[in-house]
Amino acid sequence: MGRMLEMRRDRHANTTILSLSGEVDLHVSGELRQALLDELSQDRDVLIDMEGVGYIDSSGIASMIEGFQRARKAGRRFALARVPESAMRVLRIAQLDRVFLLLDTPDPDFEGR
């Protein structure tokens, strides 16, 4: 099967940077959800680098909400970095631009909620 979403995992101290590239749609959003929950279950902070995301749909956003909620419950930090304009549009529609911590750079030492 042609891969549509690439996920790269880089671990820095307590933070995992998950770099996405490709399209996050209904077909692959379950994988994103799983990757996020895996990192959080290992007591790590999570930063999603969105620079390479060409498309994201509501199911991809739902995966991120799950990650965000799990992080909050576990007292871990959770943030998105370098969100492209097309993805920002979807976040704004869901009013999540006010909920998620959005960073300009994928800095593993981010100050976060």
Partner: protein
């Protein structure tokens, strides 16, 4: 579902008309599966570019059609993954009209509600995306034989 299985044997018999209505750009028929969504997005992107939409308008149209197809896959057909989705694209003056047609049980439009935005939980965003991304969205009376037809209208800009 029995009704749709009974129809399935007729698959080889469905005969499209030899001509296209003059404002129709394309009709795309797919199985209601998440794998085929990228084909929908590719076709709608080419449509938006060809019609002279801006990148933003094209992306919005793509999002709206993709979300409408997702709702058909997840809610209208539930687990029936051989159900057909038809996307009809036409260009009417300065507007692109996209119809997302399914052959599932008719849905009650009153039941389609996005979740309130102050409730933070996964889900319930798709219909908001559709409304925000196109200029008009409405269920239309489907053609005979079809279940539902969601019409999306986007002004070319």
């Amino acid at each position: 579902m029995t009704a749709s299985k009974a129809f399935a044997a007729a698959d080889g018999d469905s005969r499209p008309s030899p001509t296209m209505a003059s404002d129709t750009v394309f009709e795309l028929h797919l199985a209601a599966r998440s794998r085929t969504l990228k084909i929908v997005r590719a076709a709608v992107t080419a449509l938006g570019e060809d019609a002279g939409c801006s990148l933003k308008a094209t992306e919005e149209l793509v999002s709206a059609v993709d979300e409408a197809c997702q709702n058909v896959i997840r809610h209208a057909y539930k687990k029936e993954c051989d159900g057909r989705i038809v996307i009809k694209a036409s260009c009417e003056g300065d507007r692109l009209v996209l119809r997302v047609v399914d052959f599932a049980e008719p849905v009650d439009p009153e039941k389609i509600r996005p979740r309130p935005l102050d409730e933070l939980r996964p889900g319930g965003i798709g219909t908001r995306v559709i409304r925000a991304c196109v200029d008009e969205v409405a269920f239309e009376t489907p053609q005979q034989g079809a279940g539902n037809c969601l019409r999306l209208i986007k002004r070319i800009s």
